[in-house]
């Protein structure tokens, strides 16, 4: 039973190995390794400043990790040998009939989305505020439309191929808007939407890039309980009906425990627990990290270990 559940080691879509990210003297992520299972909802949790957003930024190419390998497999049948060979070869990715592998730490941020198929949202929402909701989703389909418009030449001449593609793109957008319940706001500027709707729109926009892995940075932050429940349904729908693997950072334990197939707990840049929801919930280290331990106990431990108290860390954002 337990073995069957561990989809992430059997068929990982993303493997993060020995990831280290230093900012000057600060080690934000420290020798972190984990796998994200294909078709799973994986949650990355931990206290503020634990380094979760930094991991996201490394995976999506916004930061170049100091050390480590981040491998994305688009198909399941990639052998470890193929991965090792790609790593040696110095290339960024290998696409073959047996499966494609992408070494994300070598790729530029936009290439990661375009070629490897990783999409993300941001902790502090980044929408195109002055553009309409519909336009936001059309921008997300840029690369596809660019090709269809013959890199603008065909589009300028109004060739039928482009017009068809534009229609299709609009249909995709409308479909997602209906799904996230924003269709009636399609012609409103994105900045005019209420907060919860902006979060949903950002998710829909990321999905319009047609990803295999969707990274969501605190999607439930600032949502009310009803909106949170809707988000749960949406994430399950994405996983089940579109086969998109989801990696999310979340503080709302209600969301995390209910929908996650796999939870990874970070504290001070290190992994302290990794497993299914029931496993993680009962892990004493997680409880200690989340609830904190008594002051006296801390002093005892510090005396034993002879360490200085850890510096307090401010919360950082995506950028």
């Amino acid at each position: 039973m337990l073995k069957q559940n561990r989809n992430w080691s059997a068929d990982p879509v993303l493997s993060v190995e020995h990831l280290t990210m230093r900012f000057g003297g600060l080690v934000a992520v420290d020798d972190l390794s984990f796998d994200v299972g294909r078709g799973d909802i994986t949650a990355l949790i931990g206290p503020n400043g634990a380094g979760k957003t930094t991991v996201f930024n490394c995976v999506t190419g916004f930061y170049k990790p100091t050390e480590g390998r981040i491998a994305l497999r688009r198909d399941g049948s990639v052998t470890p040998e193929a991965l090792a060979e790609l790593t040696r070869s110095g290339r960024q990715y290998a696409e073959g009939d047996k499966g494609s592998i992408f070494l994300l730490e070598r790729m530029a941020d936009f290439k990661i989305t375009e070629v490897a198929g990783v999409a993300r949202t941001f902790q502090n929402i980044r929408l195109f505020g002055g553009m309409t909701v519909l336009e936001n989703l059309l921008v997300a389909q840029h690369n596809e439309l660019m090709r269809a418009s013959g890199y603008t030449i065909g589009g300028l001449l109004g060739l039928p191929g482009y017009r068809r593609a534009a229609e299709a793109a609009k249909e995709t957008a409308v479909e997602w808007l209906r799904r996230v319940n924003l269709l009636d706001r399609a012609d409103d500027p994105a900045a005019d939407l209420p907060y919860g709707a902006q979060r949903r729109l950002e998710i829909a926009r990321a999905l319009c890039t047609n990803p295999v892995l969707l990274c969501l940075d605190e999607p439930a932050a600032g949502l009310n309980p009803r909106e949170s429940a809707e988000l749960n349904t949406l994430l399950k729908y994405i996983r089940d009906d579109h086969g998109v693997s989801v990696l999310l950072i979340e503080h709302d334990m209600g969301v995390v425990m209910e929908i996650s197939d796999h939870i990874i707990v970070l504290d001070y840049g290190k992994k302290i627990s990794d497993g299914t929801a029931p496993e993680v919930r009962s892990d004493p280290k997680v409880i200690a990290a989340y609830l904190g331990v008594d002051d006296e106990e801390v002093e005892d431990v510090e005396r034993d270990l002879e360490v200085k108290p850890a510096p307090t860390r401010a919360e950082g954002d995506a950028r």
């Binding site: 999506t60 916004f62 941020d109 936009f110 290439k111 990661i112 989305t113 375009e114 999409a119 993300r120 941001f122 980044r126 929408l127 195109f128 505020g129 002055g130 553009m131 309409t132 519909l134 336009e135 059309l138 921008v139 997300a140 389909q141 840029h142 690369n143 439309l145 660019m146 418009s149 890199y151 603008t152 589009g155 300028l156 482009y162 609009k170 409308v174 269709l183 399609a186 012609d187 409103d188 500027p189 900045a191 005019d192 926009r205 990321a206 890039t209 995506a318 950028r319």
Partner: protein, 485 residues
């Protein structure tokens, strides 16, 4: 320029709105502990402020208007002219009084009132109507002029050509600044590249206007890419400064590369455009000869007018079309949020380069037209002030607005010309008053006024590039301005 926009938009309307919000807030809560100071009545306050302003002006202009020193034989001569001084003071007093009494002291800020009007008329297709009327006037202008103002038609047609050149330049720069949100202070560089490539190609290889025109555009686009590369990574003020430097570098190179560009002497004898090989001159094989009509120098002007009109309309058409294509949408997305663009798999390098190249290409076309119209070019025509005027047109018109650029060009270029002829002001300031000396001052004042009144430009709404059901204009307060504003 950009700074004026920024601070004006940051201060005036928001400040006024905040103030009234704070007041309402205070009224709802507990009474304030300190008595609010008794406010002067509107009239007293207006008089007070007008007095202060007039006093300031009196001090500031004392040595310019009241007592004036001029160099005379054997030293300086002093002229005392209290009359001009009094007039200046009186104007500021009355102006400030009216402003304070009717605009600033109103219960609701005047901007709020304007918003109401704007909201009430939002449903009307004003932009479309104005655009259609302008287009009609532009298409028939030469005939309108010969019918209604035959005595001045050459002068006015020449002015119209000049205005249209700036409309085209404004539309070109609008792609870079208004759509892609990259503040470019050196746009005149592409104008110069276009003009010089046309002039050099035409004079050295004996090519005609219609062959050189696309080549000049391509050269300028190439330069756009070349200048675009180094500034790709720059943001904000740095981008503005480096583009400004590029504009100057091009001019200095043109000035000093004597053997190639002729240096300060410029290039002479640039051929005039022909209509399918027909020249606009006297004699055999000319336009008038071919059609058997009498030769008149106005024919050439009309022809030039229609060339620049066609070029400008082409610019407009391509820009409007591109806005609805993925590349144009990516420009606007780039202006809104570059990081979000990259997270969606958009290669922002390419997006920026296409914006620079497209903008530069239209600048190049306009440059070739300038060269063929003048028949002579020199580096003097491509100074920083040109960049500044074009940018001012774009900013005053409203970033990203095509119609705004037209209105701003007409007002700015036409306005400068009109001020040249404002001899009526001599009645007030005495016969020694020369309006041409003050036109830049008046012009600057007008610009400040517009920036106070409409900080985001004349046409400050954005119309969406794709519509699901209903087209709604987007208010300027929601639209980002991009880098360096």
């Amino acid at each position: 320029m950009a700074d004026i926009t920024q601070s004006a938009s940051a201060n005036r309307p928001e400040g006024a709105e905040r103030l009234s919000e704070d007041r309402r807030e205070a009224m709802r809560g507990e009474p304030p502990f300190v008595e609010a100071p008794a406010e002067d009545s509107r009239l007293v306050r207006a008089l007070k402020e007008a007095g202060i302003t007039a006093g300031l002006i009196a001090v500031l202009t004392f040595f310019f208007f009241f007592m004036k020193t001029d160099i005379a034989v054997g030293g300086l001569s002093l002229t005392v002219d209290p009359w001009t001084w009094f007039v200046a003071i009186a104007i500021t007093f009355v102006g400030r009084f009216l402003l304070t009494f009717f605009v600033f002291a109103g219960e609701r800020p005047a901007v709020g009132g304007w918003k109401k009007i704007a909201a009430a008329t939002a449903g009307w297709p004003i932009g479309k109507v104005v655009g259609a009327v302008l287009l009609f006037v532009a298409l028939t202008l030469p005939f309108l002029l010969t019918i209604f103002l035959p005595s001045q038609d050459r002068y006015l047609l020449d002015l119209a050509i000049l205005i249209l050149t700036y409309v085209m330049l404004g539309w070109g720069l609008n792609i870079v600044v208004g759509l892609a949100g990259l503040l470019d202070l050196g746009y005149v560089a592409f104008y110069a590249v276009g003009a010089y490539s046309f002039a050099l190609l035409a004079t050295n290889f004996d090519l005609g206007f219609w062959v050189c025109l696309p080549m000049a555009g391509l050269f300028a686009a190439l330069w756009g890419v070349m200048l675009g590369f180094p500034v790709l990574r720059l943001r904000g003020d740095y981008l503005a400064i480096v583009t400004l430097a590029f504009g100057e570098i091009i001019r200095v190179v043109l000035l000093n590369w004597y053997t190639f560009t002729g240096g300060p002497n410029g290039i002479l004898g640039i051929p005039k455009p022909t209509l399918f090989g027909l020249e606009f001159s006297r004699g055999k094989g000319s336009f008038s000869d071919f059609f058997g009509i009498e030769y008149s120098s106005i024919q050439r002007f009309i022809f030039l007018y229609y060339i620049i009109l066609a070029l400008a309309l082409l610019t407009n058409f391509v820009t409007m079309r591109m806005r609805k294509l993925p590349v144009g949408r990516a420009w606007e997305a780039l202006r809104e949020d570059e990081i979000a663009c990259r997270s969606l798999g958009i290669n922002t390098t390419n997006v920026k380069l296409t914006a620079f190249a497209t903008g530069a290409m239209f600048g190049g076309f306009a440059g070739s037209f300038f060269a063929t119209r003048q028949g002579f070019i020199s580096p003097e025509s491509f100074t920083f002030i040109e960049s500044a005027i074009i940018l001012a047109i774009v900013v005053l018109g409203g970033l990203g607005s095509q119609l705004g650029v037209v209105i701003a060009s007409v007002v700015m270029i036409g306005g400068i010309e009109l001020l040249r002829n404002l001899t009526g002001l001599q009645a007030i300031f005495g016969t020694g008053f020369d309006p041409t000396q003050y036109r830049m001052l008046i012009f600057g004042l007008a610009m400040v006024l517009i920036m106070v009144w409409k900080p985001r430009g004349l046409v400050s709404t954005r119309s969406p590039s794709a519509i699901y059901k209903e087209k709604k204009a987007i208010g300027a307060d929601l639209v980002a301005q991009g880098e360096g504003h």
